[in-house]
């Protein structure tokens, strides 16, 4: 085990790994999905796959916000950036995500006013400081970031700042899990639940997964020991034939979530009837739109948004990888046309994308073997 050795409790880690081996029935194959991209990153970084028995397989889920954003939304946002006097503000994670005609960073190089902000309130601050400009904040993220966007909009309204709007691409995690569970080519035994999303939504929203789908789910922290302990908890449930929601990350995640954050979201956002997810297609009630009282700050009301639909590059199999049907390395472009340096798909951009994680921690250490049975795929 690679990075696990750096962990301060190697003995506890070793005992937990022993426990996993004891609990895993050799006659059975286990498929656990880690929903959150942060867990995907940690699993590769710490080499956890190497310490698990071969019949305990981890499937990477859809919880990487830039990875699930369809290319058309990036293009729509960048089209708005071309409106006169617009400052386009987005988190750094967005800057290298390719749109059909280049990433936000490439648009900046072509002369658009594109700025990195680290907080939505800083985008609002840009608007205060540039009263003759319109600041458009390209908002993305799950429930971890949505409350911050909501509170920023509440402040913009309270202060009457009119040269600020939000292009809202916030999504919610539960409908994505529902879509994955109803996908016919997906067989899963249990879920490692997201840690930071759960600090906001709490653990109750997962109860249907256990009750109706009979799948155990454990909300987990991000340290190697957290993830391994969560796997122990899932294996115990499967051994005992139970399916409940458990909270391994109690030290940070309250069962009821953050009620203030949920209130801010309810005040500002409503569910869209449907929203397109890269790889998962259109999912009903899976994303947030800005409510009417805040429409003066909704970029989709302030501007005309084309609603562009762009199909992903044909050879890229981001969708299959996102759903966990293919491993990153099974995509035809992986490591050839598509690398973290020159990403074709968004899963190669973010450190939480399974392709980038796989590339950085698995692919680079392996000796490259020339492919004999596969032509380089056209882009």
């Amino acid at each position: 085990m690679r990075f696990v050795d750096e962990f301060r409790d190697p003995e506890i880690i070793a005992r937990t790994c022993d426990e996993i081996r004891r609990l895993a029935d050799p006659g059975r194959h286990y498929r656990f999905m880690e929903v959150c991209g942060g867990h995907t990153h940690a699993i590769y970084r710490f080499g956890l796959k190497d310490v698990l028995p071969s019949n305990v397989e981890l499937i990477h889920g859809p919880g990487c916000p830039v990875c699930v954003l369809p290319m058309g939304r990036i293009d729509d946002g960048l089209t708005l950036a071309k409106e006169p006097n617009v400052i386009f503000a987005a988190f750094g994670d967005m800057m290298r995500v390719p749109g059909a005609h280049g990433s936000p960073l490439e648009h900046k190089a072509r002369g658009l006013d594109v700025r990195i902000v680290y907080s939505p309130t800083d985008a609002l601050k840009l608007a205060r400081r540039n009263p003759d400009k319109h600041v458009l904040f390209f908002a993305i993220g799950f429930e971890t970031t949505a409350p911050s966007t909501a509170l920023t909009l509440m402040r913009a309204k309270a202060e009457g700042i009119r040269n600020f709007s939000v292009f809202c691409n916030h999504v919610t995690i539960i409908p994505a899990i529902r879509a994955i569970l109803s996908s016919p080519d997906m067989r899963l035994d249990a879920f490692i639940g997201p840690g930071h999303v759960s600090t906001v939504i709490g653990c109750r929203p997962y109860e249907w997964i256990a009750r109706d789908e009979r799948k155990p789910i454990v909300v987990s922290g991000f340290e190697p020991l957290d993830i391994l302990q969560s796997i122990v908890m899932l294996l115990r449930q499967l051994r005992d034939g139970t399916a409940i929601v458990e909270n391994q990350y109690k030290r940070v995640v309250p069962w009821e979530g953050n009620k203030g954050a949920l209130r801010a979201m309810a005040e500002v956002f409503q569910l869209r009837p449907f929203f397109e997810w890269r790889g998962l297609g259109f999912i009903s009630q899976s994303a947030l739109a800005i409510r009417a009282p805040y429409s003066a700050w909704d970029a989709e009301t302030v501007f005309r948004v084309a609603g562009v639909r762009v199909t992903d590059p044909k050879a890229a199999q981001c969708g299959e990888v996102l759903k966990g049907v293919l491993k990153p390395v099974q995509c035809k472009l992986f490591g050839r046309e598509c690398t973290p340096e020159r990403p074709v798909g968004a899963l190669m951009v973010s450190s939480e994308g399974s392709c980038a994680a796989y590339y950085n921690y698995e692919h680079r250490k392996a000796t490259p073997v020339p492919s004999t049975n596969r032509e380089p795929a056209p882009v």
Binding site: F7, G37, P65, Y118, P120, D122, P147, L151, E223, N258
Partner: protein, 89 residues
Amino acid sequence: MCLAIPGRIAEITGDDAHLALVDVSGVRRHVDLGLLHDDPPQVGDWVLIHVGFAMSKISEQEAAEQMRTLALLGEHDAAMEEVRGYDGV
């Protein structure tokens, strides 16, 4: 964007006390406290910060563990870059 960064409240500011000067490994930046309105943190408390907003109160031990997790994940520099970037427009 998805980093959870631990910081210690050094000072509470803003006319309605919704801002705090937070210390993250010696770097001090303003962080929004508006999402912890129900149980507002006090000076000296530790919080987990997401995109410039304090999202949960944590213990000092958990804060130290979270910093170490960020370092183990190779995200410490990205986290400090994010913190330095707050207020940076």
